[in-house]
Symmetry: C2
Subunit: 502 residues, 2 copies
Amino acid sequence: MNIEKIIDIAKKRGFIFQSAEIYGGLSGFFDYGPLGTIMKNKIENFWREFFVKSENNIFEISSRTIAPEPVWQASGHLKDFVDPITQCRSCKSMFRADNLIEEATGKFVEGTKADELTKIIKENRIKCPKCKGTLSDVRIFNLMLKTNVGPVEGTNAYLRPETAQGIFTNFKNILNSTRAKLPFGVAQIGISYRNEISPRQWIMRLREFNQMEIEFFFNPKKPEYPNFSEIAKKKLKIVTREEQKKSGKAVEMTAEDAIEKQIIPNQWMVYFMLKELDWYQQLGLPVEVLRHRHMLPEETPHYSKGNFDMEIKFDFGWKEVVGNAYRTDFDLQTHMKHSGKDLAVAEDGEKIVPHVIEPSFGLDRTFYGILLHCFVEDKKRGWDWFKFPAKIAPYIAAVYPLVSKDGLPEKAKEIFNSLKGCFGVFYDEAGSIGKRYARADEIGTNYCITIDYQTLKDNTVTVRDRDSTKQIRVEFKKLPEIIWKLTNKEIEFEKAGKLLKD
Amino acid sequence: MNIEKIIDIAKKRGFIFQSAEIYGGLSGFFDYGPLGTIMKNKIENFWREFFVKSENNIFEISSRTIAPEPVWQASGHLKDFVDPITQCRSCKSMFRADNLIEEATGKFVEGTKADELTKIIKENRIKCPKCKGTLSDVRIFNLMLKTNVGPVEGTNAYLRPETAQGIFTNFKNILNSTRAKLPFGVAQIGISYRNEISPRQWIMRLREFNQMEIEFFFNPKKPEYPNFSEIAKKKLKIVTREEQKKSGKAVEMTAEDAIEKQIIPNQWMVYFMLKELDWYQQLGLPVEVLRHRHMLPEETPHYSKGNFDMEIKFDFGWKEVVGNAYRTDFDLQTHMKHSGKDLAVAEDGEKIVPHVIEPSFGLDRTFYGILLHCFVEDKKRGWDWFKFPAKIAPYIAAVYPLVSKDGLPEKAKEIFNSLKGCFGVFYDEAGSIGKRYARADEIGTNYCITIDYQTLKDNTVTVRDRDSTKQIRVEFKKLPEIIWKLTNKEIEFEKAGKLLKD
């Protein structure tokens, strides 16, 4: 898969621009252009529909991106949200020490202490990959972006590295205002920040990025998902810890098996893992490029009862897009301790500090995955295009006059305006129909609607299907209904009107 | 109007929480709770519909909140986005010098230089308002929040004080990718940050806030809005510069007059001003609490051809919620100069640096205005409630079983689930119907749907109208259509079903 081609189209057509490009950009920062923004909004709305609104016990909040130091002291980020770094003494380049060691030795060292890493670098005589210079001792670098709020000697504050903490610090207010009973979840869509040492891979490892997170709270004495029998036979593909030592391959297992064999520690976690697997397929990703990986002990925080990353197979390999973490009561307990406030929940006559399951989605990585796996290199057609599902395509349809004369543009604009309120649609009259098809395909437009001389006679139009390039002829008044049914897969394209020969 | 009452309800019912409240909060930071987030999302979506999607030539982008120093050097924010501050030598409190002087002398000094302000403080013997201590010399304080990106000695970067600059720096990429012709606009909804010296008035003057901005670009040689005749007779209420010296009151004038008398410098500006006046009324604000104010010369940047604030009458007085600025070509010119990139547009065979009109909406202030002006203190009813329009109400409807027995909850849940996909709805069976009405009213729920014994017989339900408290009886299968027609004002409540006596 040619990611460079995709990056080019993404810039050319307005999906993704480098931030502040005219000033040389800033590493790890990318903007969503006009088409990218429509698609990003659609992804967010679809997520909200699928994970929040469809549930009766998940609430969404929107907390601020900056929080004062005590929050990060309590959460542990001030101490633990760090990377080990080393600098070349010659060229002054900065590297993540663990990455360097892994690349040089193949040894997995995430979580190893700084002095131990320094020792490994010396023992293995690892040099600067750029200039072969000697590397400095490893030191610890906090990945939170710091700022200072208020005049002169203000308050130390940090840009949040995850939206989750805003959910924990608001927990009591959320509980009181919603009168929610356990189990319930709190969701948040928003920006987070990580001062990555080496941002890389386009919109994969960013310094400012978009997250969609859920913290799902439950009574640890009642950890069951009540409708588990309905999902028990559904299948997950998991790279188990055992297989990571052997083949590295995913093992297919039912939800039931995953629980019974104690591979996944909680039924709610299984529920969310299945649901995200479904969601990503609805985004247009084939099941073959999706899997879950059980994080290794050294990748898992001490308080976790088990972390499972959902991974997508990217051009460069498998990479996390959703982190599923069983965070236990760690966060609420630590905030109780540090704030002195009671965050326990009254339940069945006793006070419970709920446990929490966190599915945390990376929106930008998801976007990357969609562009990559919806991209079709099409020599036959003569142009490349995106196979976006209608749920997330920037535009569902394009409206064209066959030619720019004889009243066709006027008629086409009239039809365009009547469709605008129904679904995402754009108008285009520049160039040949072939060129317009190519342009519409290139941004993943599901249908092209052409107004021709016959339209003026009988109010019918042609509709071209992006995926098959087949065409049907329909009455334009039926378009909203037909497009609605097509995008909801209620009818097949070929049966939606009178099929025309290519 | 009792704002304290509103702030209490906003916290109690989950509209607005103080950020990091359990740690004592951070001045100028507030979070949206579950109901606030639904409403905030609805306001954003309504704005997008009204100002972006309804137009054929306005594109939305989403740029990052952090930009490197050269962007702010070019935009002028590094030098000019400053407040004059003074500190009490005794109690060390910090103040905005211009505010202090205005409060003490009634003299308007915004834009006055630091040494001049120091002089005024001394001449007028202005003291610390807290402890009567002596005030320091005035110095200049930059309102941008600063951070440092990258490891160790990273790059200086700033959190954006407006979303607009992301539009200007992306201008060429937007132009190329959309193939747009002048005139066209670029919109952005997003977070901005200002390190206010003294945040105040709840969610009015925040350090982190939500903006909705449009930069509308046009050829300065063709400054006309093409459909001006359609809006020529529409009316604006403007506090002119002249009246600010006299009565301070707004003058009603037609769009046509505002242009002919050269009060408003551009037809596009009039178009947006009228449109925002309409929008705020659709948000539930009466026209009496809305007006535009022509900014005084000392409040207007040197490059501006005219700034008009749209103001809402708040509990504490009139305050800006939308800034309309005719920024000319200042931004594109300065970015051309600093970046060395050509941002001109080819038009009719010549290169044009477009002029720009900027309507910039403060979302949080708008939210404040809505809560304030939709709040109904209702002694007759016995509880206070919000008169939110359905467009932005957290929930359109509540579904209740009359009593929690005899199969009514099951039937009510069935109806609730069937309505969930149609509009925002919640289920409640706790307490008496009266208490449930009160709770629904308090969060501005438009309709209450009650399932009673008759429902089990004939599938009809009662629908109660929040505003009139009148009730009708309808077939529950017709609910989606009836609620849709009611919220779109296509039918009157009393005619939507069989009217019941109170």
